[in-house]
């Protein structure tokens, strides 16, 4: 679409990492741009333009979505969790600790998306098999780690979280 007419703005209200926000946005604004540019939550990254890389993964009402493929207006009224919301009271989430312990990140660009996909996996399936883990992050591209240590990190976090019961 190309137009010379100014585009009418639409209000969007969301709760992100427990915090309520209201903004007026262009209807074509992507959720990932909304998070990064409007809310300045730049931990959610962009790595592609065909919904392939998953660097933009966030939890929308608990479900993992690629926020480059959701319009901000579609998220109106929802609860969103981003990587910035994983740490609680100054304590890293077990997934964050496990990624570091097991060297599941190098450049760290894919990491926020990986963490969110893994988070959704462990919420639904506390005892994932290695196949489950591979499947859960199949939409999250990592170019640095060859995935090996990401598998290990997710497994370790699952064990840790189960221990906590």
């Amino acid at each position: 679409m190309s137009t010379t007419e100014p585009i009418a703005l639409v209000p969007v209200e969301v709760t992100v990492n427990g915090q309520w926000y209201r903004r007026e946005v262009e209807p074509r604004l992507l959720l990932v741009q909304f998070l990064r540019e409007e809310l300045r939550l730049t931990g959610t990254h962009i790595g592609c333009d065909t919904t392939y890389c998953g660097a933009c993964t966030v939890l929308l009402n608990g479900a993992p979505v690629k926020s480059c493929t959701v319009l901000a207006v579609q998220a109106d009224g929802s609860e969103i969790l981003t990587v910035e919301g994983l740490e609680q009271d100054g304590k890293l989430h077990p997934l964050q600790t496990a990624f570091s312990e097991h060297h599941g990140l190098q450049c760290g660009y894919c990491t926020p998306g990986m963490l969110m996909s893994a988070h959704a996996l462990l919420a639904a399936n506390p005892e994932p098999s290695s196949k489950d883990i591979r499947k859960a992050i199949q939409g999250n591209l990592c170019r640095c780690t060859g995935y090996q240590n990401i598998f290990k990190a997710i497994e370790a976090a699952a064990t840790e979280l189960r221990g906590k019961g």
Binding site: I46, G47, C48, Q106, C107, K135, N149
Partner: protein, 803 residues
């Protein structure tokens, strides 16, 4: 205890797992403009007319740039190559002709990315399509010429000849001929695309926040291009989301953003590349064809000579090329002991995306070639794959290659033994025999490779004798901060390799302190940091070049601290020792309880210096050390000299099964053994091996930049290019041996690039699976269509001959 050698948890992780890294695209700011680049849809087309009126009238558009603006404000970027490369006009936008699909033709800066894109659609461009040439061999015929001023597509030619090749062929027991081998085009494509924020300041200087991975070099290219002095170009980087070499030449786009800022009156302009733009126009790996290869062997299957003709395809512009025409010769004979070699090397431009140094740059192509040669000879002479390698491996070190490179250390037979054990070689041999009996296609392949690190830039003079580059260097600055922390800045600008952590380990050992007392500042800043032209992260250079700079700075800092402490504690200098006390890092007088904390030393120098006497005038606790490896300029006529300081090695074994139904090659088992000398941080090293392995497996089985004959890129989105995912990567059995380098202070060898071992191993495994079907593996890409085609028309009758 020693921190070096331990898997210290990375310091970088604290910010990165919280999503608090600062990547170039994370830079936000009120009033920032966004750049959208309009690119040529054609591989070769004359630009007849550009109408920007409607775009410029769109509210929110700050400026539109076309070739006219570029000619008025910009000079062509320096090309490294000799004539005719100097006639190539390389500018941030095409002027009157586009020469690859995706070449920038116009650019728009507007108040939002979407608006800039809208404006892009209002620009009207008339093109006249021209014939495209997409094959380097055809390009050499000069029927279609890309750079008319150069008059030819040939950008470089040279002959590398060593030993007595003719004699070796006369004496040969067997001669194997392989008419054509081809290494395909792919790239390691970091998940973070290229990005920068540019500001043309009121002082007439330019400020960049970007993710260029070789900023010392970029600055020297950008300044003359933008008609500025070098110190008027400030380049900063912070976190970089992977580079693998691909971010070396994004300076072309940085210039465009800077020119947009200039035209927009100095407003900050951000450019964040889209993935499709990245795949179309941010740099591909070198594609190479190997023609008329002849191999001389003795009666035992020992290779005595190779002669061949290589044609490298560098895409539309040379830029960093034709350096690749020399870089490969760092590993001329690969891991094999033959002494007689003649390689005729030519490079050509084609109507495709320009190439960029991609992980394993130029050496990997040569290593793959040599691995194919060895592997094909083994099959043709019926010598078992492992036995063939053992008969041909170099076994004595240091080893001087026929062209004067010195392999520092290694033990390839030990790596082979370890990899065989990891993959369970004997089991797979049996399973293979059983599978074959059932008519299944199961293959086992060995790939041995080198990762040459810390290169001698003097080799650039083999390519162009007029280039003022040689040697190599890296810088470390270190100061003792007010609170007693050792604060360190590096010139390296890493992109995920954990330099903050490895540096802390080295410093902690040298001072006998905890790594937490060491602060390594991340990022690069040409205005405030010291650096050298070689500074950057590329070509496996950190473990030796970077850490040697750190080590040297430690020694200088300790000398100053020792002198100061001796004065303050009234003891001889040789009685001062370093370590940690109850209060943290301290210096103390041996055998006494006299000690001072680091912050006390720093305080004397920085706040409380009246008690110091003149003998301490040179103590500043602010150190700069430049490490320069011991190189000399190679003999450019003979193409002879030591081109790299260290040679890490990798040996991979792949077991694949090819489905007769789908032609898909599936990896059943995979082992990777690494030798990078003394290991600084085992976890980081293993991580690098995993990463390089996944790039190689992805390239061998999935990833390829395919162009049609008109120069249209058919794999220009991730959904078409299919980078390897968690579902496609096998479990990697990892092992290592350590043969310390005698040439580095710490015994380490640079190892980040990995040398493309998976390509060698998978090509060999596919060969092993298909040999009985009459197929000779002559390419490096083993996608189902490629395997299907090979099985449809077995090529052995014309792809190889033995005499």
């Amino acid at each position: 205890m020693s921190w070096v050698g331990s898997s210290l948890r990375r310091k970088e992780d604290d910010r990165l797992v919280r999503g608090q890294g600062l990547f170039a695209d994370d830079e936000l700011g009120a009033g920032m403009l966004h750049l959208y680049i309009l690119r040529s849809p054609y591989a070769h087309a004359r630009i007849l007319n550009i109408d920007t009126t409607a775009a410029e009238a769109l509210p929110g558009v700050a400026c539109v740039l076309t070739g006219k603006d570029i000619l008025a404000h910009c000079d062509p970027f320096m090309q490294l190559g000799p004539s005719p490369c100097d006639k190539i006009r390389d500018l941030p936008l095409a002027i009157d002709k586009a020469i690859f699909q995706g070449e920038p033709v116009a650019a728009i800066a507007a108040t939002s990315p979407a608006l800039a894109m809208d404006a892009g659609q209002l620009i009207e461009i008339d093109y006249e399509m021209l014939d495209a040439v997409v094959d380097a061999g055809e390009a050499l015929a000069d029927k279609v010429i890309l750079h008319e001023a150069a008059g030819t597509n040939r950008t470089w030619h040279g002959v590398y000849e060593y030993g007595d090749v003719e004699q070796a062929f006369r004496d040969a027991a067997h001669v194997v001929r392989i008419p054509r081998l081809h290494f395909h085009r792919y790239a390691s494509t970091p998940v973070e695309g290229n990005a920068c924020v540019a500001e043309w300041t009121r002082q007439g200087t330019v400020d960049f926040l970007c993710n260029n991975s070789f900023p010392g070099f970029a600055q020297q290219l950008l300044a003359p291009g933008l008609r500025l002095k070098v110190d008027q170009v400030r380049i900063r980087t912070h976190d970089i989301g992977g580079s693998f070499g691909n971010k070396i030449w994004n300076y072309v786009y940085m210039a465009l953003a800077a020119l947009a800022s200039k035209k927009a009156g100095g407003r900050r302009v951000k450019w964040a590349e889209l993935r499709t733009e990245h795949l179309l126009g941010s740099g591909h790996g070198n594609e190479r064809t190997f023609l008329d290869t002849e191999v001389a062997l003795d009666s035992k299957g020992v290779i005595t000579a190779v002669r061949s003709r290589h044609i490298d395809d560098c895409g539309a512009y040379t830029r960093y090329e034709p350096l690749g025409c020399v870089i490969w010769s760092q590993v001329l004979p690969a891991t094999y002991k033959l002494r007689n070699i003649r390689i005729d090397f030519t490079q050509a431009v084609t109507n495709k995306c320009p190439v960029v140094p991609n992980r394993g740059y130029s050496r990997m192509q040569q290593l793959w070639f040599m691995e194919r040669v060895v592997d094909i000879c083994a099959h043709e002479l019926r010598i078992p794959a492992d036995e063939m390698r053992l008969r041909n491996y170099i076994t004595e070190f240091p080893y001087e290659t026929p062209n004067g490179c010195v392999y520092d250390s290694g033990n390839y037979p030990a790596m082979l033994a370890k990899a065989k054990q990891l993959v369970d070689w004997d089991k797979w041999q049996k399973l293979q025999a059983a599978a074959r009996a059932e008519g299944r296609l199961l293959g086992i392949g060995i790939g041995t490779t080198l990762d040459s690190g810390t290169n001698n830039f003097g080799q650039a003079q083999i390519m162009n004798p007029h280039l003022p580059f040689s040697g190599n260097a890296e810088v470390c600055t270190m100061r003792l901060d007010f609170d007693g922390a050792l604060v360190i800045c590096l010139g390296t600008g890493p992109s995920g390799q954990g330099h903050e952590t490895a540096t802390s380990q080295v410093v902690a050992d040298e001072f006998g302190i905890d790594p937490s007392a060491v602060q390594v500042r991340s990022g690069f800043d040409t205005a405030w940091n010291t650096f050298v032209g070689h500074s950057g992260t590329y070509a496996s250079q950190f473990a030796v070049t970077g850490l040697s700079a750190v080590y040297g700075a430690c020694q200088k800092m300790k000398a100053e601290m020792r002198k100061l402490a001796a004065f303050l504690l009234k003891a001889p200098e040789d009685q001062i020792e370093f370590g940690s006390g109850a209060q943290g890092p301290e210096v103390r007088v041996r055998g006494t309880d006299k000690a001072m904390g680091y912050w006390q030393l720093s305080n004397v120098i920085n706040n409380n210096n009246a008690m110091l006497d003149a003998s301490l005038a040179d103590v500043t606790l602010n150190i700069r050390h430049v490490y320069r490896p011991p190189f000399s300029v190679p003999d450019t006529k003979r193409k002879f000299g030591n081109l790299t300081l260290t040679y890490a090695a990798q040996l991979h074994i792949a077991v694949v099964e090819i489905s007769r139904e789908t032609s898909r090659a599936q990896i059943l088992a995979y082992a990777a053994v690494d030798d990078c000398g003394t290991v600084i941080n085992p976890k980081i090293v293993a991580g690098q091996v995993h990463g390089a392995t996944s790039h190689g497996i992805g390239a061998a089985l999935m990833e390829s930049f395919n162009y049609d004959e008109s120069g249209n890129l058919l794999t220009s989105t991730f959904s078409d290019y299919c980078p390897i995912t968690s579902l496609n990567i096998p479990d990697i059995a990892y092992g290592s041996i350590q043969t310390p380098s005698p040439f580095s202070y710490n015994g380490a060898k640079g190892m980040g690039e990995g040398g493309g071992a998976p390509l060698h191993a998978i090509s060999a495994a596919v060969q092993d699976a298909l040999y009985e079907s009459g197929v000779i593996v002559t390419g490096s890409h083993h996608s189902p269509p490629a395997i299907f085609a090979a099985l449809q028309e077995p090529n052995r009758a014309h792809a190889v001959s033995v005499k």
